[in-house]
């Protein structure tokens, strides 16, 4: 914990109409790129506003680099926190040029070091030479990169990004998320992104905190969130998948409608207890040679692969990935087999 750059401890936040953030604890390491991922209304933006200093705490503490920023009684004003922020609506100052926007937070810097910093950042965001333009003369993606540069310019200890890509079109969104990640990594700046878009979160973050109803359900790497969710909400929110009923057979084995499944480590459930296991479409693969047959009831062509929906004997419908050229028709019986190393098991 000593190494944490941002430390949020037992924070409660509320508006007049009730609790928005409920006892959240979260830490970011120096230079780490974190993300708060959750559906709208889960409290992620409110938490971000509290870190920036725009929202009062009901209880708890927020620390940044061993400095206490907020408690329920004290709040360092936003301008003294050393926190930068990029906004959803970009919020560039319309009456200032790109260079002046970037220089806005550089009060107390000598003129030469301001010029240097502006040039450096324009290079970093790939807008070299556009410093004298006005915000309205830039495209949406360019504007958002300038907003990023403006927030980074005073070298904040922490950078907050509040759904910064959601105003842009889908194609640009994914590209910009990875671009921003590269820029922030090269600068080594600790950052926290808020988004409701799972792909954006995967493109951007080292670790993602999935939020739901004011709680953090799981804080983990993108890989683990997808493959080892510890919470049914996370399992469903991060990518597609279905629950099926199963029973614990042995320390590592589970019997299911798809047969006996084996885990790579011991399961923490008593023998014979009823559980649910969570299967992603990439756990169930189409295999013409498999002896287990299921009825094809839906298909979605995705270019590089097919996403099939197959119906098992007991009526359960699961997603199933198939190679792009395996083109079957709906109603057909196709062979499927499981490709699982780690079982995701939840109590029933």
């Amino acid at each position: 914990m000593d190494t944490a750059a941002l430390m949020i401890r037992n924070v409660n936040l509320s508006y007049q109409d009730g609790l928005i953030v409920d006892d959240v604890t979260l830490g970011l390491k120096p230079q780490e790129l974190g993300c708060l991922l959750g559906p709208s209304g889960c409290g992620k933006s409110t938490l971000l506003r509290a870190i920036a200093g725009f929202q009062e705490l009901d209880s708890g503490e927020i620390w940044l680099d061993n400095e206490l920023l907020s408690t329920e009684r004290h709040r360092i004003p936003p301008e003294e926190r050393g926190v930068g922020m990029v906004f959803q609506d970009i919020a560039l100052f319309p009456h200032l040029t790109v260079a002046d926007n970037i220089a806005f937070g550089l009060t107390g810097w000598s003129e030469t070091s301001q010029y240097k910093r502006i040039a450096e950042l324009l290079d970093l965001i790939g807008l070299t030479g556009l410093g004298q333009r006005y915000p309205h003369e830039l495209s949406g993606g360019q504007q958002q990169r300038v907003a990023l540069a403006r927030a980074m310019a005073p070298k904040p200890k922490l950078l907050l990004l509040d759904e910064p890509f959601s105003g842009l079109d889908t194609e640009l969104r994914g590209r910009l998320a990875s671009e921003v990640r590269t820029i922030l990594k090269s600068d080594g700046i600790c950052s926290l992104l808020v988004t409701h878009d799972q792909r954006e979160a995967f493109d951007f973050a080292d670790r993602i905190a999935v939020m739901h109803d004011g709680h953090i359900c799981q804080f983990d790497t993108p890989f683990n969130l997808y493959h080892e969710p510890t919470d049914p909400f996370v399992a469903h929110f991060v990518g597609p998948g279905e629950m099926i009923d199963a029973t614990i057979e042995g320390p590592r084995s589970v019997s299911s409608p798809l047969g006996l499944l084996t885990n790579d480590e011991d399961l923490e459930y008593p023998i014979n207890s009823d559980v649910q296991i969570f299967l992603r479409p990439d756990d169930l693969i189409h295999d013409d040679d498999s002896s287990y047959q299921a009825t094809l009831v839906g298909k979605h062509f995705r270019g590089a692969h097919h996403l099939y929906e197959v119906k098992l004997d007991n009526g359960v419908i699961l997603g199933c990935l198939a190679p792009s050229h395996h083109n079957h028709t709906i109603g057909e019986l196709i062979g499927v087999s499981l490709d699982i190393e780690h079982l995701v098991v939840f109590p029933k």
Partner: protein
């Protein structure tokens, strides 16, 4: 884990400067004062003159006000909607110029138009002399001779008030998405059906809002009806106050008028709340407009030029002609100086108060503050006559109180408040505060909260956010607010007439006095000055609208 908190750096983040909130409350009380004063007389019982009023004059006032309102409502719709329709949906030569020429009659106070046409249509004047010589028939001559009548007043008011309807209807037509119309065409509807079932119904709230604004101005009008001898509520109030020396009766008449106005305010708000069904993201209708040629083009041009011609070009030509060649005016300069000084000082003061209110709303948004601001907005709907009476009565009472208090010290009784510019500026504040808050709110609302927050995170405190970000961003809105207030004050007649200090004259009052003495040609000088200054915001606002 030993993290020591540095209590020096941790500070209370809340230090609320309550001056903002206090000013807002005081402003609300100022607006409330004339209303409360006037309405309070309903409870105090019936004045002696009231029963006489009720028996003889009240019915006439009410009937004339109602008739005038109806005629003006018809007039502004007939002048404003076709023009808006043609400008929005068709392309023809002169469309660009006509689209803003149609706004120019807004620069005219109705009473100036009334003076001008009365002068032009004088029995021995050029028009009627020409018609008589040409042997024009009686049915043509008599309405022209009788311009000083209720229909004549309705015509004058319609000619200057139709731009409200034109502006709102044009905006509504142009904002309508082309997709909706095209969707209707693809569903097999003809042009006429699309017009009557899609376009007009969607613009109806805007047309209604514009018409109601015009009707409210009509109810508030004093100069025109007074000059034309049409007895309405406003002339009745002044007559009861001065003629019969009966402030109670005047206040009670004011309450009746207020009731009517309030009724229309509620209606206007209701129709305006429906004005926003259009989406601004979609393709705009005016991009698909039809090009007109030949006789159709001529018809469109004539329909658009008629309101401008009679509402602006003709009277301005006549006024300029009189002012340049015939008018005799002494002490013109002192009149200009005193008018501009008064309007300039009052509009600066009003905008300052408005700025405080807008900031109170932005920094400490709350339900009651929002309601208070809405209430302050009612001031603009108060007829100038009512504001004047509502200010005069309490200020006069304060004067008498001060005088009686000072009498033992040998100080002669005097008008400490009611006969001074304080009363006048106070009345202007009540009446025009909304004009300023409206302009400033729209300017401030364009500055999104994230702009403020960015400023804070980049090292500015709240004061820095205002001085470095807001000031440069709302400079234009502040200027517009001052300009619009300035012109409104310059045009305002009844409140100025009733509340001005003894011997203090403004352009509007001078025009009124000269016209009252039948010196219509001499009245042209102050009149044309008011109109010329009034043109500035009309052109300025139209320019900023088209730029956006």
């Amino acid at each position: 884990m030993a993290i020591t908190s540095n209590h020096q750096s941790v500070r209370w983040a809340f230090n609320r400067p309550n001056g903002l909130l206090l000013t807002t409350i005081i402003a609300a009380l100022c607006v409330a004062l004339p209303i409360l004063v006037v309405v309070s007389f309903v409870i105090t019982g019936v004045s002696d003159a009231w029963s006489h009023l009720f028996d003889t004059l009240l019915g006439r006032y009410a009937l004339n006000s109602l008739l005038l309102s109806i005629l003006v409502a018809i007039g502004v719709v007939m002048l404003g909607v076709p023009a808006a329709w043609i400008i929005s949906f068709y392309r023809f030569k002169g469309r660009g110029i006509l689209s803003w020429l149609l706004l120019l009659p807004m620069a005219y106070p109705a009473y100036i138009l009334a003076y001008t046409y009365t002068g032009v249509l004088d029995f021995s004047g050029p028009v009627l002399t020409f018609l008589r010589d040409a042997g024009a028939p009686d049915w043509l001559m008599s309405p022209l001779l009788n311009i000083r009548s209720l229909p004549g007043a309705a015509l004058m008011l319609s000619l200057v008030l139709y731009p409200y309807v034109y502006l709102l209807a044009r905006a509504a037509f142009m904002e309508q998405s082309a997709n909706l119309m095209e969707a209707a065409y693809t569903l097999g509807q003809g042009r006429w059906r699309v017009l009557t079932r899609i376009v007009i119904p969607m613009a109806r709230p805007a047309i209604a809002a514009g018409t109601l604004l015009a009707v409210m101005e009509t109810l508030a009008d004093f100069g025109t009806v007074q000059f034309f001898g049409v007895q309405t509520f406003t002339t009745g109030i002044v007559r009861t106050y001065y003629g019969f020396g009966d402030p109670v009766g005047a206040a009670q008449l004011s309450t009746l008028l207020l009731g009517c106005v309030f009724f229309f305010v509620v209606f206007e708000k209701a129709s305006r709340s429906k004005v926003r069904y259009y989406s601004d993201r979609l393709r705009k209708l005016n991009q698909t407009s039809v090009v007109l040629t030949g006789w159709r083009q001529t018809v469109a041009q004539i329909l658009c030029i008629l309101p401008v011609f009679f509402g602006f070009l003709l009277p301005t030509g006549i006024l300029s002609y009189w002012a340049l060649f015939f008018a005799e005016m002494q002490s013109m300069w002192s009149l200009i100086v005193s008018s501009f000084f008064l309007a300039g000082f009052a509009s600066l003061f009003i905008v300052m108060v408005a700025l405080v209110i807008c900031y109170a709303n932005r920094l400490y948004p709350s339900q009651w503050l929002n309601h208070t601001t809405t209430f302050v907005g009612l001031g603009y709907a108060l007829p100038g006559v009512v504001v004047a009476i509502g200010v005069l009565i309490p200020f006069g009472a304060v004067d008498r109180f001060i005088s009686s208090g000072l009498a033992p010290f040998g100080v002669a009784p005097s008008l400490w408040l009611s006969g001074t510019l304080v009363a006048l500026v106070f009345a202007y504040l009540v009446r025009f505060l909304t004009v300023a808050t409206g302009n400033l709110t729209s300017g401030l609302s364009r500055i999104r909260p994230s702009i403020d927050q960015s400023g804070r995170l980049l090292g500015l405190n709240q004061f820095g956010v205002i001085s470095k970000l807001h000031v440069p961003l709302i400079r234009g809105s502040v200027f517009t607010a001052i300009l619009v207030c300035f012109v409104d004050i310059l045009k305002e007649l009844p409140a100025t007439l009733i509340l001005r200090p003894f011997d203090f004259n403004t352009l509007a009052v001078k025009a009124y006095e000269l016209a009252g003495d039948e010196r219509l040609v001499d009245a042209s000088v102050p009149s044309i000055l008011i109109v010329l200054v009034g043109l500035v915001p009309v052109i300025w606002l139209n320019r900023s609208v088209t730029q956006e």
